[in-house]
């Protein structure tokens, strides 16, 4: 043990009460920081998982109308220079040639699954009630590769859906509103066209209210017949191996395949921003504890400087340099930080585990029955860094003050 650390330890343990205040605030600050980050990022992660599990990582939709123009500039080789005009970009609704687009998308190495979806607005009639809904015509096996539909089925079976051309999967909220259950029939009518009878073979729950109350999954062929759209689809839903790369892939798809591509980050921007704001605000709130820890450390060290001026003079008379005195005081902050961050991390880990077991009934943007936490080493790093920066900044002032004390002045003052 270095002489400075040994002295720091003894100085600190001589002020146990003051040190305990700083230590307990550091433990609370670090621990609560970890818990809040684990819960906010847990809910955010679950939300992302839910929305990717329902609407995919990227949605490729309308065709971009070609607006390239050839300018009258010739290169040495005689080729035209073409400039893309972004202003006034126009779209042609839907995907006319989904087969060709799917083939082209298979060349993108990050694309793990593609599902063609035909969407249309419909009126659903049950024995009790009529309601508006949206029908999503899908090819089941393709759609299972880009969604969590398999896990979202709460009643019924996908095998029966696969074997029943007139079978539909409807959302839990829609089923409740129509007062229908598994095996019952529904009449689905596209505006201005003849209604067709469908049988409910499954009820799903994504937890996203906007989906569960409006969406009906049917077979693509049946949907074409219902909507009278013999070719083309509304959009292609993609899943990716690396979902974080969705914006880059979407840009590349737009630039090369001339169809608008919407990554999940863009699609759910407002919710993601809300989660980020919540994460930051909760971090700021619990950092108050760390701030108090810093103030307590400042107070403790300032008291030690006042009480130990004589000892500082002794140390300086023995050959301890100003930098040694600074280090002795910074070591004291370091000891509190070392103990506080270790205990705080343990407290944070334990509290995170306890919170993850707490019941919480929640639906609307996702469905959960308990608190969701995300375990990440970065939460610990951020919590520890916040504590280290706050406490060390608070410790620098008394440490420098101690180092500036003139031994001659102290000895003369004490002796008088």
């Amino acid at each position: 043990m270095s002489p400075n650390l040994r002295i720091a330890y003894r100085f600190l343990t001589a002020k146990k009460r003051a040190m305990m205040m700083s230590l307990s605030c550091t433990i609370l600050g670090v621990g609560l920081f970890i818990v809040t980050q684990a819960t906010t990022s847990g809910f955010k992660g679950f939300f992302i998982q839910t929305i990717i599990g329902t609407d995919g990582a990227v949605r490729v939709e309308d065709k971009i109308q070609d607006t390239l123009r050839t300018l009258p500039i010739k290169t040495a080789g005689g080729a035209d220079v073409r400039v893309r005009q972004k202003e006034g970009r126009k779209y042609i609704e839907g995907i006319e040639e989904p087969g060709l687009l799917v083939l082209a998308l298979r060349d993108f190495p990050n694309v793990s699954g593609i599902s063609a979806v035909l969407r249309g607005s419909v009126i659903v009639r049950s024995s009790f009630k009529d309601d508006t809904a949206q029908i999503f015509g899908i090819e089941l096996d393709n759609h299972l590769k880009v969604s969590q539909l398999r896990n979202q089925i709460t009643v019924g079976s996908l095998d029966e859906f696969r074997d029943t051309p007139s079978g539909v999967l409807i959302g839990r909220e829609l089923a409740d509103r129509l007062q229908v259950s598994l095996g019952e029939s529904l009449l689905i009518e596209s505006p201005g066209r003849e209604a067709q009878r469908f049988r409910i073979v499954g009820i799903y729950l994504t937890g996203v209210s906007a989906i569960d109350k409006i969406r009906i999954y049917a077979h693509l062929g049946t949907t074409r017949s219902l909507l009278r759209k013999p070719d083309g689809v509304t959009f292609l839903q993609l899943d990716l191996y690396d979902r974080e790369r969705a914006p880059a892939d979407a840009r590349q798809i737009e630039n090369t395949l001339w169809h608008s591509a919407n990554p999940w980050q863009e699609r759910e921007k407002s919710w993601l921003s809300a989660f980020n704001a919540l994460s930051i605000s909760s971090a700021i709130t619990v950092s108050v504890f760390t701030l108090i820890a810093g103030l307590a450390m400042f107070n403790t060290l300032a008291m030690i400087v006042l009480e130990k001026t004589k000892d500082i003079a002794i140390l300086r008379s023995m050959g301890y340099e100003r930098v040694d005195i600074t280090r002795i005081f910074l070591w004291q902050a370091g000891i509190v930080l070392a103990i506080g961050t270790v205990l705080g991390s343990l407290f944070g880990a334990g509290a995170t585990y306890a919170v993850s077991k707490m019941p919480l009934e929640l639906t609307g943007i996702f469905a959960t029955k308990h608190y969701i936490v995300s375990l990440s080493p970065w939460h610990y790093v951020e919590a520890i860094l916040t504590a280290v920066i706050t406490v060390m900044i608070a410790s620098i002032i008394p440490a420098r003050r101690a180092a500036r004390l003139e031994p001659g002045d102290i000895v003369r003052g004490t002796a008088q």
Binding site: A14, L315, G319, E321, G408, V411
Partner: protein, 228 residues
Amino acid sequence: MAAADPIVLRCDGLHRYLGQDEGRVHVLKGVSFEARRGDVNAIVGPSGCGKSTLLYLLGLLDQPDGGQIWIDGQLMSNSDDAIRTAARGAHIGFVFQFHFLMLEFSALDNVMMPMRKLARLTPPQMTERAHQLLNSVGLGDKTHRLGTQLSGGEQQRVAVARALANQPSIILADEPTGNLDVKNSTMVFDLLTRLAKENGQAVILVTHNPEIANRCDRTRPMRDGVFV
């Protein structure tokens, strides 16, 4: 060679002012002084005459407003804080009137503290030397007692052992017996002078005690900031 020079400490024309503005006092008025190895020097005089101020200047705890100080032939008065601090650790041992032990530490730790900073010895050598020094001041059986568990006389004996820890060439003592009874005063003074003479160290002590002063090799009376 500087180490062979019998004069280990010398100052010439030292001036020191204390206080500020109207309260500024000319405490030392051109003091010159030298100390030889193995000699015990007493500086005596009434309170406020500048004895302690001179001692702190000689110990490089303070800086003069004028004049020069040489330690082992090296000019120290105008050197920067780092050099003066290093010189204190290597060449000077202090004994103060109020013991100035670090009370949270044991007697052994107090004696080892200057050795740990200088780091000339290995940790086992430091421990052995600290035990030797505490034995020599009669505290071999109290090495692990905290400062708070020692009497005034014992604390001052630990302070003497600590001052000798790095085998300095100069021992500066500011009224080392001023806070002790007669028996302890005699014991501490005898100890200090015996150990210093054994090791060829110069001792400069400030005292009000005429008996102590009379037993020193040289006595320098001071009045109003000058030797008389």
